[in-house]
Structures are given as C-alpha cells and as structure tokens.
C-alpha cells in the first residue's frame, strides 16, 4: 500500500482494504450524466430479461408475444387491471425503502419481509388495545404502531451491526424467519380469533379503523400513503443535511468518521426508517385489506421490495416507477394463469431474471464516462 497515489481501479473497488463500503452498490445516484446512464442501464436490463423470459416461454410452447400482450393487458390494459397494478404496487413502494434507506449508509438489509410481519402484528395488537377510540385517530395510531414495530425490528439489526459488527444481511435474513415464526405462534394461540375456522388468524381490528378506497377507484388509500412517504423520503435524502450525512457514510465510512459524523446514530436511524416503512406496509395490509393478521402477510412483499430498490438504483423517486412496473407484472399473474395456464410462479421467475440482469448491468456502468489514462 505504498504505491504512489492512484485511484484504485474499478475492478478492485469492492475489495478496498481501508474501509469496505457498499457505495458502489448504490450506483450513480444524483448526477445528471450518471443518472441518465443508470436509467439506460436499467432499461437495457429489463429488455434483456424480457427477451430471456420470452425465450423461456417459447421453450415451454407458449407464444412470447401473446404472453407479453396479455401481461400488458393484465397490468395496464384496462381500468380494472390498472387498479390491480396499483394495489400490488402500493406496498412495494414502502417495502423497497426497507432496503433503500439502509443502502444509503452502506448497509445491505433484506429484512423487509420480517418488518412487514412485525408491522402487521403491531397494528393488530394496537388495534385491539385501542378498541374504543374514534375512527381516524385509531387508524393513525394503528398505523403508527405498525411502523414503530417494524422500525424497531430492523433497528435492532442496525444496532447489532454497529455494536457487534454482525453482518446485517444475515441478521435481517434470520430476523425474517424469526418474525414469521413469531407470527405463526401468536396467530395460532395468544392473539387468535377462534371464531374464524377457515384459517388461523388473529383478532380483527375495529371496523372504524379500516381505511377505504380512493373515491372512484378500487384502490385503497395505502397507495397514497406510499407515494407520500416515498416523496418525503426523497426530499429528506437529497435535500437535507441528514441525507447528505448518510451519503457520506454510505460512500466512505472512514471519511464520515473524519468529518465527525455520528455514525452509530445514522445507522440506527437509517435502519429504523427503513423498517418503519416496511412496517407501515404491513400495517396498511391490515388496515386496508385484511383487517386481521394471518399468514397472508407473508407473500414476498419484502423480497420483491429488495428487487424494487435495486432496480431503482436506490433512488426514492425511481422506486415509484419501478414499483408500478413490478406491481404490473404481479397483477397480470392471474390473467396469465387463466389464459395460458402459466403458474403464478412465472412472475417470480421474470422478477428474478430482471434482478439478475440489473445486477449484471452494473458491470457496464462507467463505460460511458471518459476513461482515465493509465498510471
């Protein structure tokens, strides 16, 4: 490490010895030129994935063009399918933040699934405790309880990382499974509504706390909550000193130390906010869709959220667009199944392919920038 000052080559960036960061994981984030390149790369990745998926379908004997047409129809083609898409996209807006916000400080968190579950549990328990409260207040408090539960869940992983150096990817992964086990345990006994015999579910929250649909649409207000949260977060991350501090930390931890930034507090805050967003999504599922907690909270919202975050290159505004896209893919699953007898898992395959292609595309980032001359 005594060689004359030279910027490490891109290939060696992930292995820099003085302070591993995931800064490069975030890709280009705010610069106009790099933003354009990022966008193009993501689009290219989607196109490639679509082609591969088309090939996959063709091998199965389906007509890819017809399938894609149906996919479009099922996602955006009709008023009904658009509503479906928006409904699917709504929680993704929030669960993506569970990966996105910690990524800004250099953490790779995949605990969205667990945070959603905790959010649902928090909402249900608060809903029951607040029994007699007036409707709107009850709703707000129920949502807040869910957000709080999810926030604390992920923040604990952040604390483990900061205090004990426990890798946050693994810890949040484990916390996912612990959360699911906790859900199953509570729903099968302690908070169970035994009058429901169809499946095990918790007691319901008061009807007054439920939120309805946006007038004229069959889409619940959770969508608006998601849009508002994403926008606010974007403002926070990009236009506040707090957001800039997070950028520095995520870019180079040692530089952040040198600048006197409160590293621990930033990590905890980022994890809490991310977990709170996913927890809010779980609470919204209760308050807007199910009314009670059950295993229908565990449908991969968290994992799809990870994909949304990566595809959006960790940009909170891009999350909105990407969530719509992925929501659309999910929404069309039913139509695909009915028309082509394609199992619903096909949408997961497509999402996985997109994810892989997006990751592979980061290898091409920076090719459009002028090259530095060799030392």
């Amino acid at each position: 490490m005594r060689e004359p000052l030279a910027a490490p080559t891109a290939a060696s960036a992930p292995h820099s010895s003085s302070g591993v960061t995931y800064g490069w994981l975030l890709g280009a984030r705010h610069l106009p030129t790099d933003g354009l390149e990022s966008l193009l790369l993501s689009l290219a990745a989607i196109v490639v994935a679509a082609l591969l998926f088309g090939g996959f379908l063709a091998l199965q004997g389906h007509d890819p063009v017809a399938v894609y047409q149906t996919l479009y129809l099922g996602a955006f083609g009709t008023h009904f399918s658009l509503e479906n898409t928006l409904t699917q996209a709504a929680p993704l807006l929030l669960t993506a933040l569970c990966t996105l916000i910690p990524a800004r400080v250099g953490l790779l968190v995949i605990g969205g699934e667990g945070a959603v579950v905790l959010g649902g549990l928090g909402a249900v328990i608060a809903g029951a405790a607040l029994g007699g409260a007036p409707g709107p207040i009850g709703t707000v408090l129920t949502l807040a309880a869910g957000a709080l539960a999810g926030g604390l869940w992920i923040a604990s992983a952040g604390a483990l990382k900061h205090l004990r150096g426990v890798n946050e990817t693994i810890s949040t992964l484990l916390l996912n499974y612990i959360a699911i086990a906790l859900l199953n345990h509570l729903v099968s006994g302690p908070i169970r509504d035994f009058s429901q015999t169809l499946k095990a579910q918790s007691w319901s929250i008061p009807d007054a706390f439920m939120i309805g649909n946006i007038p004229g649409w069959s889409v619940h207000w959770g969508l608006v909550i998601g849009l508002v949260v994403c926008s606010l977060l974007h403002l926070l991350l990009r236009h506040t000193t707090l957001g800039f501090s997070m950028d520095i930390l995520g870019g180079n931890r040692r530089a952040a130390q040198m600048a006197g930034l409160p590293i621990g507090r930033l990590i905890l805050l980022a994890c809490f906010l991310g977990g709170a967003a996913a927890g809010l999504a779980g609470a919204i599922e209760i308050v807007a869709v199910h009314g009670a907690a059950s295993e229908s909270l565990v449908v991969g919202l968290g994992y799809t959220g990870i994909l949304v975050a990566f595809l959006a290159r960790q940009n909170a505004l891009a999350v909105i667009l990407v969530a719509l896209l992925l929501g659309g893919i999910s929404a069309s699953g039913g139509l695909l199944q009915r028309r082509f007898d394609i199992p619903h898992a096909a949408t997961t395959v497509l999402q996985g392919l997109i994810f892989l292609c997006v990751l592979a595309s980061s290898a091409f980032a920076g090719r459009m920038l002028p090259r530095r001359s060799a030392a």
């Binding site: 490490m1 005594r2 060689e3 004359p4 000052l5 030279a6 910027a7 490490p8 960036a13 820099s16 003085s18 302070g19 800064g23 490069w24 975030l26 280009a28 984030r29 610069l31 106009p32 790099d34 990009r238 236009h239 506040t240 000193t241 707090l242 957001g243 800039f244 950028d247 520095i248 870019g251 180079n252 040692r254 530089a255 130390q257 040198m258 600048a259 006197g260 930034l261 409160p262 920038l369 002028p370 530095r372 001359s373 060799a374 030392a375």
Partner: protein, 517 residues
C-alpha cells in the same frame, strides 16, 4: 532451487525501450545495461519511468519498441511467466504474501508445478535445507500474519531465490524497514552479488543506500536516461544534480524558521494513548505529546510503528483503549461540533481511501466540512445543493484543482488533484490545529513544496501543527520539535536546533524489540 548449471547470474540489457500510455511517454528510448553479478541502482522521481521499465522487464507491460536482451540474446517477454522462465524475479513494494497461510505454504504456492497431493514432511525438509544455505532464516510453520515487516520482506526475497530467480529487482525494499533492517537486507543482497549468485536491480530514492550498497547507478528523468555512472565515482550532490537537473539547494532553515514564539499552554495534548491494532496487538503504547499553538511538532518514524493508528484515533477512525486526547484543555471526542469549535483540520495518508467519497462529485467532496452551515445549509437542516457549485468553484480556482467540472466524480481526477481537493477542503477554513500524515507522498516536487509552504503558513498564523511523516528530511526541514515514534511509543524528543539525524535514526529502531508480534 538455485540453478547450479549456469555459473553466472544473468546479465540483462534493454535497448531503446519505448512505452507510452496514451499521450504519456513513460519510456523514451531507454537503454540500460545491468551487468552480471552487480548491484545496480535505479534512481528517479515518481513518474520518471522506473517502475514502467521494470514492469516491461518482468512482462507486466509489453514495450512498444526496443529490445530486451538476457545473457546477450534478445528475448520476447510478453508475460510474467516468460520473465520467470528466464530467471528474472521482482520483489514489490507491497507484500504479495498470503497472510493467513504459513511461510511454507507461501513458498510452495509460487512454484510452477505443485504435486496434486503435498507431502509436507518432504517439503519441510527441503525448505530447511534451502534456508540453511540462505542469509536469512524463517520458521516455515509460522503464519505470515505474525511476521514483522522486516521478516516479510526477507520472505519475499527468499521466495524469489527459492524459485530459482537470479536476476532480482527490488522495488523500494526498505520503505517499511528500520535503518538497521535495511542495512542487513541490502548488505546481504550485496554479498550475494559479490559471490556471483545474483544480479540485483535496486529501485530506491534514498541516496544513502545508493552510495553505500550499489555499484552502478542509472538515473531516469521523465522517461529518459538522464545519467549513468559508477557509484565509486559519484557523490550525493552529484546524484541529486543529475536527478533534478539542478543542484539541490536545500530549502532548509530559512523559510520555515519560527516567526513567533509559541503560546505557553498546549493546544493539542495526547495523554497516555493506548490502542489495539487490526491484528489484536498493541500498536500504540502510552503515547503522550503536546503541541502548542504556533509550533510544528514532527513525528519521525518508520512506517508501521503505530503512526497510522495514532492518526486514526485523532480522526475518529479508531477508539483508543486507554488514554485521552485534549484540545485547549478539554476532552476531545471528534464530534462535528468540536471539529468546528477547535478549528481542526486533518490530512491523513491515502486521502482517497480515508477522507473522500470516490463516487461523489468534486463539489460534494469539498463540502464535507461546511455542508451543515451557511451558505450550504439553511437552518442547519436544509441542504442547498444549488449553493454547492459557486462554493466549490471558488476553492477549485484558489487551489488549482484540475477537474472537468465541479460536478465531475472525484474518481475521474488524477491522484494529485484528489490530494489537492482534500487539501482545499481542509485548509480553506480557519485552521487552529492541523494534523498531517505523509502529506507529500506521491506528489511531484512542485506540489510537495506548495504543501510545505501551506504548513509553514498555518503555523505562522498561529496554528498548532502535528506533522507525521516517514520522510526524515521533511521532518527535519519543517519541525520546530522532533519526536520519534517506534514500537508504538514516543521514544525521543529534541528541538530542531539540536537534532542529529543519526541519533534520531537510532531511536527509530529502539522499542521494536519490545513490540510483541
């Protein structure tokens, strides 16, 4: 194993070697003869072409034109394997050893052909026999991670000899060694050349080593051979003249003499600092020192004696186990508010790795110290991005940072400009405590001189300056007081007026025996 067939070590020559990288002419018709069984020094500033030359020899680069002759025959060297086959080997500046493997495993890994199943008993026996013939010995079962820097350097050299290489290029081999270790290593290498076992090319920038150990010296300047001479007929000043093209007028005493007596009380105080290093051993041991406003305190020492960790403590990148840091008498915790209140500026080594974010723009990097104050922030919370550009533009002009635009990513800048960016950021505020570590490393002469001027200016303006450097000349030139750090301790202190280079050098080696591996 050492090749017993050809009695004499290789003689290597390059003829009219050319190599360019884009517009940069790294080597311009360079011709050098490295005679068999001699120690040949290669001198030159950073960027003169020394490392390009040897990399061409070793097959890492392919020369654009010219020839390489080994034993008087022209040889195409297109790949390191070709060089190795001809018996050419190189010992690098950074260690190529695998820390978590043993000495023996590291030896074996360099071999061309390893058996599928390794008979460790036989291998250990063979290694033992090999090392008995060598000037240095190492215990084969030791983990490389537990070796000291000097031992690692010896292992690197032994590895080359083990693999039968008899033409060795040593690239700044003593940069991490104490004067005593350096003398031992170079002395042994010289002895091996005299015994007709090796031809050695020594890349160095230390005149003392050239004068003491080398027999021939070639000086490169801007990609061309500036001079070639026998060491016997040369002098240090003569070498300097050939290297820089003018007589080295030492910028000593005059410009950096203290202009005002320092204030009475200490501004920065380190009190019994102790720290554990990355390997779990004590790297800073009971370190105490004071720096007063208006004085420059220099810490001399060989790299790897705790300086890096000491600066990390001051930069908030490492927690001390025991001890305290005080500024103006108050405990210092490295928070943002304190950095602002006490006017602290830090220039650590490797600023790109330690003090900047490569994927952020130049203007964002320039804002690290000021982003939460006007004009860049409103109410301490809102970050006004639009104010970044004019803020950055002013600094870019004042410090001569060459960047495509303020919004260019920092990683697109050259190393020197990255250094300037960090410098601009740190020095452009009111500085009352300046902490610098190897600030001029890797910079060209003009930039280094500029930084030294800045340091003196800061001191003259009343700042307390702590300068940590491995360049003893730099320390002696700038410091008002000189400290020595060895084995994690502050082992010596002297005023500049009574500073004796050899006394200081002696203290740089003491305390190492007490440092546990």
């Amino acid at each position: 194993m050492m090749d017993q067939h050809t009695p004499a070590p290789p003689e290597v020559a390059v003829v009219d070697l050319c190599k360019s990288f884009g517009n940069l002419r790294a080597l311009d018709r360079v011709s050098v003869e490295f005679r068999s069984g001699r120690m040949h020094a290669l001198l030159g500033e950073n960027g003169a072409g020394k490392s390009t030359l040897v990399k061409c020899l070793m097959g890492y680069y392919r020369a654009d034109a010219g020839q390489i002759l080994v034993r008087r025959r022209q040889r195409p060297i297109l790949h390191p394997r070709d060089a190795h086959a001809l018996g050419l080997g190189m010992v690098y500046q950074h260690f190529t050893l695998v820390p978590q493997m043993t000495v023996a495993e590291n030896f074996l890994l360099g071999r061309e052909r390893l058996p599928a199943v390794i008979d460790w008993a036989a291998e250990h026996a063979a290694l033992g026999a090999f090392m008995a013939r060598m000037p240095f010995q190492l215990e084969p079962r030791r983990l490389v991670a537990t070796l000291a820097a000097g031992e690692k350097q010896k292992l690197e050299i032994l590895k080359q000899l083990y693999l039968g290489r008899r033409f060795l290029v040593l690239d700044e081999p003593t940069s991490v060694l104490t004067p005593a270790e350096a003398d031992e290593v170079l002395g042994q290498m010289r002895r091996l050349t005299e015994a007709g076992q090796l031809t050695v090319v020594l890349i160095t920038h230390k005149f003392r080593e050239v004068m003491q150990f080398a027999q021939d010296v070639t000086i490169l300047r801007a990609g061309k051979v500036a001079a070639h001479t026998d060491v016997a007929g040369a002098s240090e000043s003569g070498l300097a003249a050939m290297m820089f093209g003018q007589s080295l007028a030492p910028e000593k005493s005059g410009s950096s003499a203290r202009t005002a007596p320092p204030d009475a009380g200490p501004y920065l105080e380190l009190d019994g600092l102790n720290a554990i290093g990355d390997r779990g051993t004590r790297v800073v041991v009971d370190a105490s020192l004071t720096v007063r406003s208006g004085e420059i305190v220099g810490i001399a020492g060989v790299s790897g004696n705790g300086q890096k960790e000491l600066v990390e403590i001051l930069a908030g990148q490492r927690n001390p186990q025991r001890g305290a840091v005080r500024i103006a008498g108050r405990p210092f915790g490295g928070t943002r508010r304190e950095l602002e209140r006490y006017g602290v500026s830090l220039l650590t080594e490797e600023p790109f790795a330690n003090a900047a974010v490569r994927s952020m723009s130049v203007m964002e990097n320039l804002a690290f110290r000021q982003f939460d104050r006007p004009p860049l922030a409103a109410g301490g919370f809102i970050f006004r991005r639009r104010a970044l550009r004019p803020f950055a533009q002013a600094l870019i002009e004042r410090y001569g940072i060459r960047a495509g635009s303020p919004s260019a990513r920092l990683e697109t800048l050259s190393g020197g400009n990255i250094q300037r960016t960090v410098l601009a950021r740190e020095l452009s505020r009111e500085v009352r405590l300046l902490i610098m570590q190897n600030p001029c490393f890797g910079l060209d002469v003009a930039a280094a001189a500029e930084i030294r001027r800045q340091i003196v200016r800061a001191r003259n303006g009343g700042a307390a300056v702590l300068l940590i450097s491995e360049d003893l000349d730099e320390i002696l030139e700038l410091s008002d007081r000189v400290l020595v750090m060895a084995g994690g301790r502050i082992t010596y202190e002297t005023e500049r007026s009574s500073a004796d280079r050899y006394e200081i050098g002696r203290h740089m080696t003491q305390g190492l025996a007490r440092l546990s591996a």
